[in-house]
Amino acid sequence: MNARLAGGLLLLGLLVAFAGLGALFVDLADAQPLSAAVARPPSAEYPFGTDSAGRDLLAVMVVGTLLTAKVGLLAGIIGIGVGTTIAFIAAYYGGWVDRVLSLVIDVLITVPGLLVLIVIASAWPGRMTTTLMALVIASLAWRDPARQIRAQVLVMREANYVMMARLSGRSGMAIIFAEMMPNLLPYLGAGLVSAVSGAILASVGLEALGLGPRHEPTLGMTIYWLIFEGAFLRGMWWWILAPLTVLVLLFVSMYLLLIGIDEFANPRLRRRA
């Protein structure tokens, strides 16, 4: 365990505790408009204040953290699943299948993801939901896992234990799941963290641009509303402070986790540090 990994886990733990305890003790219905007094600064009744549409910002932060995590996890898991499947298909069949799939992955990795996601997401004006959002993001989230896992599988295919299994007459599926998968687990784990954090980054970005679910109070939508309603011009500092703090904590924790896992999995980086 290194310092960065520990720091990342600690910050993430804080956020999980906040969202978990919040879900138990805060009335989550208050995250909807018109459920509290309008535009109130923090007080005993509303510890984080309320926004100009009458949402209780404490409830919004709890619900927003949960919804944003949902989008990230859903898109990340689908991305890893689809990416791994494509990687195995490419590496297993080889030949022109591999060449075509690799070309598709290479071209798609070069196309800037957020811009393509903007085009996709704009096809559902006003009908976006968090689940749909996750699916939209997942439609591109498989690119990086596919490339990384494919490279790993290609290396592994030549390994002695895979040769051994093949010579003992085990089936392709058995080799994939019994021999290769266990050895891929560290890569899959690191890939999942990276995919989830990428998905959260993309979802908050899309939402801030106004392509998010308008009826669900995610963290990105909170950013969208506060810019849209001119929170700065109205001097409503609490409206800005709450989502900024949560998002900064979220992004820093994921960044530390990513670097930490990298150091953990790659001893060469550790010695340099």
Binding site: T110, G113, L115, I118, W124, V252, Y255, R272
Partner: protein
């Protein structure tokens, strides 16, 4: 060899641009309800500016009419897109999408280019110094802060900066490319006004990306320091500054330039959101307004132009690379 490399790069650029154009064509068709047609239908029914809208609808039908086979529609779409004919804006009718883009483009390019060059230079220098035997205390002290800032997306850091510098301390303007009351013109005061407005957007890109460059450069510099020629330079008694710049930095810089090519897409996407947060009058803001108004031709046009710019920049960096690395140049000569 060299020609083959350039040819392969050009093919990749064409593939990327072609993919982007095709996605713009296909995605609305794949959606449960074609959003472009829905929007046009809405406008025709509401009949706000009837004659104008009819003109767009007619042009749209001509190109994409359902009575035409899909392949023919695709063909004419790709042809006009590649000729940079991106159609009309639905929301600001007589304006052509390309004109709107050309008006916004200088703002984005100016902001992005300046900020990226500053961040690249500062970050690379910082990373190199961090790996050097005697790094200045200032660099050491700043390193952790810069690394944490690298975790944040540009626009989020932008919001923090607005909160501090424009909202709390009221030192710099919050919004826009120039003041509401200023008349644009070639004067010093207007140039100063632009500078004042671009400071915070540029700063949010610079601060959030220095860390990435520093981290990558530090790793490369450590590797380079283990090389024999570094030990040889020291044994020859070369002064530290000479060893740092001509021997260490020069060699460690090459992967950084490659990284720059790969980062351009990420930077452009980040800049889009920064402009939205600051209401900066570039492509990002144009895109945001188009999204708000479901102005699909502008959305597709801006996305296409950004992809085109990114692909071209990557090609340029790739072609300039041999100028920096004599080994590639030599290899190409044989």
């Amino acid at each position: 060899m060299m020609l083959l490399r350039i040819g392969r790069r050009l093919a990749m650029l064409l593939a990327v641009v072609f993919t982007a154009a095709s996605l713009n064509f296909l995605l609305p068709k794949l959606a449960p309800k074609n959003p472009v047609e829905t929007k046009l239908l809405q406008l025709t029914e509401s009949g706000g500016a009837l004659t104008d809208i009819r003109e767009i609808v007619r042009a749209y039908e001509e190109k994409f009419g359902l009575n035409r086979p899909l392949l023919a529609q695709y063909g004419s779409y790709i042809k006009s897109t590649l000729m940079l004919d991106l159609g009309w804006s639905i929301a600001h009718y007589p304006a052509r999408v390309m004109d709107l883009i050309l008006r916004a483009l200088p703002w984005t390019i100016g902001l992005l280019l300046t900020a990226t060059l500053i961040a690249f230079t500062l970050g690379t220098l910082m990373g190199a110094l961090l790996a050097w035997e005697r790094s200045p205390w200032l660099v050491q002290a700043l390193a952790p802060a810069v690394m944490v800032l690298a975790a944040l997306p540009f626009y989020l850091l932008g919001l923090v900066l607005i909160y501090l510098f424009a909202f709390t301390w009221q030192l710099l303007p919050m919004q826009g490319g120039y003041g509401l009351t200023t008349l644009p013109g070639w004067t010093w005061s207007f140039a100063l006004e632009i500078l004042r407005h671009s400071l915070l957007p540029a700063l949010s890109i610079v601060l959030a990306s220095i860390g990435h460059w520093a981290l990558a450069m530090r790793g490369m510099m450590i590797t380079v320091q283990g090389e024999d020629y570094m030990a040889y330079a020291q044994a020859n008694g070369l002064p530290p500054a000479r060893r740092f710049f001509s021997y260490g930095l020069r060699n460690a810089l090459l992967p950084q330039v490659t990284a720059l090519a790969l980062q351009i897409g990420h930077l452009a996407a980040g800049a889009v959101l920064v402009e939205r947060v600051f209401g900066y009058p570039g492509l990002g803001n144009l895109l945001f307004q188009a999204i708000e108004q479901n102005d699909y031709f502008v959305i597709y046009g801006v996305v296409f132009i950004i992809v085109l710019m990114i692909a071209t920049m990557m090609l340029l960096v790739d072609l300039l690379y041999p100028l920096l690395d004599p080994r590639v140049r030599m290899g190409g000569g044989t």
